[in-house]
């Protein structure tokens, strides 16, 4: 390597170290947030208590609270945060629109609709629901995505990012209305279930749900991590990406499918949580820049942290009852969206 290469490269190596530092800090924050989350709640435990119980000397009751109630909920929050933020990152990369998010685009609503239909026909009682519900939600999410695709499809195959967002918002509104219509048909228990689902309660807080979600999440995250370099090139725009030899339409379709699958499966256990897929990629880009091999992991960790912290706040803020997680995420997310919109406007005015 030439001397000049070395000088330039040393700068980027410094950046790599900095990025590793950020990843380590996020991991630390996640562990800390998980420990705090374990210790707060209806029966409050101290930090020392939590450590004591984890290391194996707690009472049966304490072990039950910690490992059967709180821990699965924490693990689920982390997983859902990972999945939704990754889905948001993919959508933003593929559509080239920084405001893309599975919640805003109606993909969550599509999943929601099939969840309601499922509950309407099969009830909520059966254990089978744990494993079939993700499939139902995925079908709904794919249906919504397909609907958006059919509405914006043009003969030339050129899809403008703007039309994706606008059509997505319309589809989201339509599906939500349809869902409200169906809710009228539900009996009391079904209604309670669906309404808590709609506001994004991490309702299935037990290990079965962790188990049901885990394989989906692992496979999908592994697949998209192998696509980071394609994503890097895709965000350069259609023409440049083609020039660099990316099969745009194929890659777009695949990545959209992965995004929809991630969102659908996560939403089936968490309920409709918006804004995570919007916020996490932005925060990640701010922290480590736009290259996906670092940005995507940082985005996933940020998403996990966001949902975990929101869920923790949701559990403690109005004790002894609790707020739905999705509401807390939205309380944080809505101002962030407004901030993004104004920042984007300023950026356009400047350029």
């Amino acid at each position: 390597m030439s001397g000049q290469s070395k000088i330039i490269y040393s700068y980027h190596r410094r950046k790599t170290y900095q990025n590793r530092g950020i990843i380590a800090a996020l991991a630390g924050a996640l562990v800390l947030a998980a420990l705090i989350s374990l210790s707060v709640g209806y029966s409050s435990l101290t930090f020392a208590d939590v450590i004591r119980i984890i290391t194996g000397s707690g009472s049966d009751n304490e072990i039950l609270v910690l490992f059967s109630f709180r821990l699965p909920r924490i693990v689920l929050s982390i997983m859902v945060g990972m999945g939704l933020s990754a889905a948001g990152c993919l959508l933003q990369g593929v559509t080239g629109n920084a405001l893309a998010d599975t919640g805003i685009l109606g993909i969550n609503a599509g999943a929601g609709l099939t969840v309601v239909l499922y509950v309407l026909f099969f009830g909520t009682g059966s254990m089978l629901a744990v494993f079939t519900l993700p499939v139902a939600a995925l079908t709904g999410a794919l249906g919504a995505a397909l609907l958006i695709y059919l509405l914006i499809r043009k003969k030339t195959g050129v899809i403008s990012p703007f039309s994706i967002i606008m059509t997505g918002i319309a589809v989201q509104a339509g599906l939500s209305a349809l869902m409200t219509l169906l809710v009228v048909k539900l009996d009391d228990t079904q209604y309670a279930f669906v309404s808590s689902w709609q506001v994004g309660s991490i309702w299935g807080a037990n290990w079965h749900f962790v188990l049901a979600l885990m394989p989906w999440l692992c496979i999908l995250l592994a697949v998209i991590m192998s696509k980071v370099r394609v994503l890097d090139v895709l965000v350069l725009g259609k023409e440049t990406a083609t020039a660099l030899g990316v099969k745009i339409q194929n890659e777009q379709k695949n990545l959209l499918f992965f995004a929809v699958a991630l969102a659908g499966t996560c939403v089936s256990v968490s309920g409709s949580i918006s804004f995570v897929g919007l916020m996490a990629p932005h925060i990640a880009r701010r922290l480590v820049g736009p290259r996906h091999h670092v940005m995507l992991p940082v985005c996933i960790m940020t998403g996990a942290l966001l949902v975990l912290v929101s869920d923790t706040i949701a559990r403690v803020i109005i004790q002894p009852s609790s707020l739905p997680t999705g509401v807390v995420v939205s309380i944080i997310g809505a101002p962030y969206l407004i901030y993004l919109l104004t920042a984007q406007q300023k950026y356009h005015e400047r350029n």
Partner: protein, 269 residues
């Protein structure tokens, strides 16, 4: 059989949605030469370049790259033979110059995740050629328009292809940088035998640097040939509807348009 030009089109028809832009176009770009497409706004020159670069799919007809139908070639393989500089490329916020230029190596290192020492040397070479070594760590969107344009050119040449397509590579550049970019392309052409095909707005620069000019109007080729053949009042009148005064540039010896009027039938408008 199509003759072995680097790019050749046969009965090419191009359209946006249902609006036809180009119809029955037979164009060829000779290997090892610098070819410029010239013509008025909206004449279809950029559209033709897009089709040549497989960015726009033809409505009918064929584009051949080295004799093979470009639509049937794997796009990744095409990227090893041809690099393209689009008209208004955009970099994501926060990306550094070095990082963007490194994407030029993407077609050749899809499966490998790390840049090799050779890749790094090529990137450094591309940065040196475009005089961007000092700005290597700068963020692309903080640069001036001219510098930004050079970054994209650096990315295109880092692809190290034998054919480079450029859509108005001198837009946004001030006069010195325009020359610099074209001289760089000329050097690549002479030293590395790169075939260059581009859309250029400036007639005199096109005449000065091109081996072959193709004048386009309404999606049709009006004339093609050397600068001496194209830079004549008749052709410019047919292409641009102008009445041009052509002289020899005393420094380069190339024809140059020093003054022009609107053709008579347009003056009354």
């Amino acid at each position: 059989m199509v003759k072995m030009d680097v790019i050749a089109t046969k009965q090419l028809e191009l359209a946006y949605d249902d609006k036809s832009v180009v119809d029955n176009l037979n164009l060829s770009i000779a290997k090892g030469k610098i070819t410029s497409l010239i013509g008025p706004n909206g004449c279809g020159k950029s559209t033709i370049l897009k089709a040549a670069g497989r960015i726009l799919k033809p409505k009918s007809g064929w584009v051949y790259l080295n004799g093979s139908d470009i639509q049937k070639l794997p796009t990744q393989e095409v990227a090893k033979d041809m690099s393209i500089l689009p008209q208004t490329p955009a970099a994501p916020p926060g990306l550094t110059v070095w990082e963007l230029v490194s994407y030029g190596r993407f077609p050749r290192r899809r499966r490998r995740s790390k840049l090799t020492a050779e890749d790094k040397d090529i990137i450094t070479w591309a940065l040196a050629k475009t005089r961007l070594l000092e700005s290597a760590a700068a963020v692309v969107d903080n640069l001036s328009g001219g510098q930004r344009q050079r970054v994209w050119i650096a990315m295109a040449i880092a692809q190290q292809t034998d054919l480079i397509l450029l859509d108005e590579p001198t837009t946004y550049l001030d006069m010195a940088y325009q020359l610099e970019v074209l001289e760089l392309l000329e050097k690549l052409n002479r030293e590395r035998k790169c075939t260059i095909a581009m859309v250029l707005h400036d007639l005199n620069l096109a005449a000065r640097f091109s081996d072959c000019l193709i004048a386009v109007r309404n999606g049709k080729i009006v004339a093609e040939g050397t600068a001496e053949e194209i830079m004549v009042p008749e052709v410019l009148s047919d292409t641009f509807e102008i009445d041009a005064e052509i002289v020899r540039d005393p420094r380069t010896g190339k024809p140059a348009c020093i003054s022009y009027h609107l053709r008579e039938e347009r003056t009354g408008l």
